[in-house]
């Protein structure tokens, strides 16, 4: 029977990296971003709305993302009535730079951790 490993805990930096990474693939909106993260991590990472939306707000204030609004019209609704509004996010150039910084930092961090767990000569390989 395979032993189940614990789900890694995301730091705020990791969360930011993941969101930026999702947006680097194209514009998206909050609910879609959270579903993409859950799907791509095989449901291991769940970034709740209470965490995601404030983070997106912060990223917008910092100029990492640009936003645009879409009006969602119901087919059956009155065509003159206002529709629901959806906020779309797109990675800004500053966000692309931040993503690269986060990736570099993460690689460096992982490399440092690996330097501790790959030096056992008896094991001969990274555990």
């Amino acid at each position: 029977m395979a032993r189940k490993t614990a789900t890694p805990q995301l730091t705020q930096d990791h969360t930011e990296l993941i969101v930026l990474s999702v947006l680097s693939e194209g514009p998206s909106y909050g609910y879609s971003i959270s579903k993409q993260i859950a799907a791509r991590s095989e449901d291991e990472f769940r970034i709740g709305a209470s965490q995601l939306y404030p983070l997106l707000t912060k990223m917008e204030k910092q100029g990492l993302v640009e936003t645009d609004w879409e009006e969602i019209k119901s087919k059956s609704a009155d065509p003159d009535a206002p529709g629901r509004k959806r906020k779309w996010y797109r990675l800004a150039s500053k966000g692309e730079r931040r993503l690269q910084q986060r990736i570099e930092a993460h690689k460096r961090f992982t490399s440092l951790i690996n330097s501790f767990i790959a030096t056992d000569p008896a094991a001969g390989a990274v555990a």
Binding site: T57, W69, E70, I72, A77
Partner: protein, 473 residues
């Protein structure tokens, strides 16, 4: 992003006051942000909630279940509002807001308030690049230098300049609190201290606390200083709470005892100064099961927390009361069953006793009639004989027979009495068992043991018949 405009989507169920709209109304009021920004956050969260509800309903949930789950996933309302505010607050604003939080919460809560701000300390294992690569705005929340003694106006100027912003002082509010632009303030060892701690020194020097404490707001790139009371008046909002689970439904505009208790509880526990005195700025109105609270924005979250705490306490009390009720019923059932068992046992004993008494009475009756026959015979012979010696002997035997007759008659009477007593006791026991076995509200589901019921009903018939038979003897 023009290519993503005007998409269409299947119809979404909305109504003017559906649960999502109600939740968004409360949430929006708790967002201490400019109205336009509030509306944008509301729109985004509404889109999220309605999409989530649609997804959950596709998975098989009913609409009320889906709405409840979607809203629950967002977490505690006041906490979410605070997160949005913190996320929007810029570096400089966040630093300055620490002062606000200090003044509003008071000395004892300052540390707690500071802890609410997202930590910027590097996490264990963070790389040098993570620590040094990007300056975290939250790190810089301390004053860069000490503040020299001076008048209050100078102090405000120093604080504003140290953060590179313009400032404005609402002197009227400070004068009401008893401090003026020329009020002297001692030295504040501000270097390296957080703004919250600097504010502690400032209010301590000025002798201000509570509603009179100095606080600050940062709006439109201007740092405003004033008292807590002043900003509270400026930031009044009204929030409606559904308290139907805490206050029994009453007539609209009618105060129930529970509603009054809730109103008093809030006004006593949550920022008492807001509700009392001639300068009261808050109001609590309970219409039926709707509680309308007019209070500063910063206080509304505390009121929600208070109501939620009451709900938790009531839930606990309700659970404890239910458990006590169940235990009482179980105990009552155990006692009742024991009593029925004991009564039944006694019933059987008395029945057996009656059988013994009946047999004894039957034998005694036989002896009685035998002695009576013998007595009649002796009397007849005594009167018929002419022989003196025989007459003497018959006379002696007659006396003995009369004594025997009397003894047996006494025994018969005693047995009849004992039988009557036993039969009465049996009827009492029968009645007791009928009462004990009658289903009550607490023991409705309980069924009578067939054994006792059948036997006791049979016994009653037998007792009545026996009583009649016994009386006829």
């Amino acid at each position: 992003m023009s290519e993503i405009k005007q998409r269409t989507k299947p119809a979404v169920r909305t109504s003017a006051r559906d649960p999502i709209t109600q939740w968004l109304d409360v949430f929006t009021k708790l967002l201490a942000l400019p109205p336009a920004e509030r509306e944008r956050i509301r729109d985004e969260l509404e889109d999220h909630l309605r999409m989530r509800v649609d997804d959950l309903m596709i998975l098989g949930m009913s609409e009320p279940e889906a709405i409840e789950k979607a809203v629950t996933e967002l977490g505690e309302t006041a906490e979410l509002a605070k997160r949005f505010k913190e996320a929007r607050t810029s570096t400089r604003r966040r630093r300055l807001m620490h002062t606000t939080m200090f003044a509003a919460a008071g000395l004892a809560l300052t540390v707690g308030a500071m802890n609410l701000i997202p930590s910027s300390a590097p996490t264990p294992g963070a790389t040098p690049s993570q620590v040094a690569g990007e300056k975290q705005p939250e790190n810089d929340e301390s004053m860069g230098k000490d503040i020299a003694p001076g008048n209050l106006e100078d102090i405000f100027t120093t604080i504003a300049e140290s953060h590179g912003v313009k400032h404005f002082v609402h002197w009227g509010s400070l004068e009401e609190a008893g401090v003026f632009n020329d009020s002297e303030v001692g030295a504040i060892p501000a270097s390296g201290l957080s703004m919250g701690k600097v504010a502690i020194f400032l209010n301590s020097h000025l002798g201000l606390d509570g509603a009179d404490a100095v606080t600050a707001r940062f709006e439109d790139d201007i740092l405003e200083f004033g008292t807590v009371r002043y900003f509270d008046k400026r930031e009044i909002i009204t929030v409606d709470h559904d308290v139907s689970d805490l206050v029994p439904a009453g007539n609209v505009l009618e105060y129930t005892a529970e509603a009054d208790q809730l109103r008093k509880g809030i006004s006593t526990v949550v920022e008492p100064y807001i509700w009392r005195g001639e300068d009261a700025i808050g109001a609590i109105v309970c219409n039926g099961s709707q509680l309308s609270v007019r209070a500063p924005e910063r206080v509304q979250g505390k009121i929600i927390e208070y109501i939620e705490r009451l709900r938790a306490i009531q839930h606990q009390k309700h659970g404890a009361a239910e458990r006590a009720h169940d235990e009482a019923i179980a105990l009552q059932r155990r006692d009742q069953e024991q009593l029925i068992e004991q009564t039944h046992k006694r019933f059987v004993e008395v029945s057996n006793k009656i059988q013994d008494l009946e047999q004894d009475l039957h034998r005694t009756n036989f002896e009685f009639y035998a002695v009576k026959l013998k007595l009649d015979e002796l009397e007849r012979r005594y009167h018929d004989t002419a022989d003196g010696e025989e007459r003497q002997e018959l006379g002696d035997r007659l006396v003995h027979a009369q004594v025997d007759h009397g003894t047996i008659e006494s025994k018969r009477s005693r047995l009849r009495h004992q039988l009557d007593v036993a039969l009465n006791r049996l009827l009492e026991l029968e009645h007791t068992m009928n009462v004990l076995q009658t289903p009550t509200a607490a023991t409705t589901e309980r069924r009578l043991p067939n054994r006792s019921g059948t036997q006791s009903r049979t016994a009653v018939t037998t007792v009545d018949e026996q009583r009649r038979a016994n009386q006829g003897r």
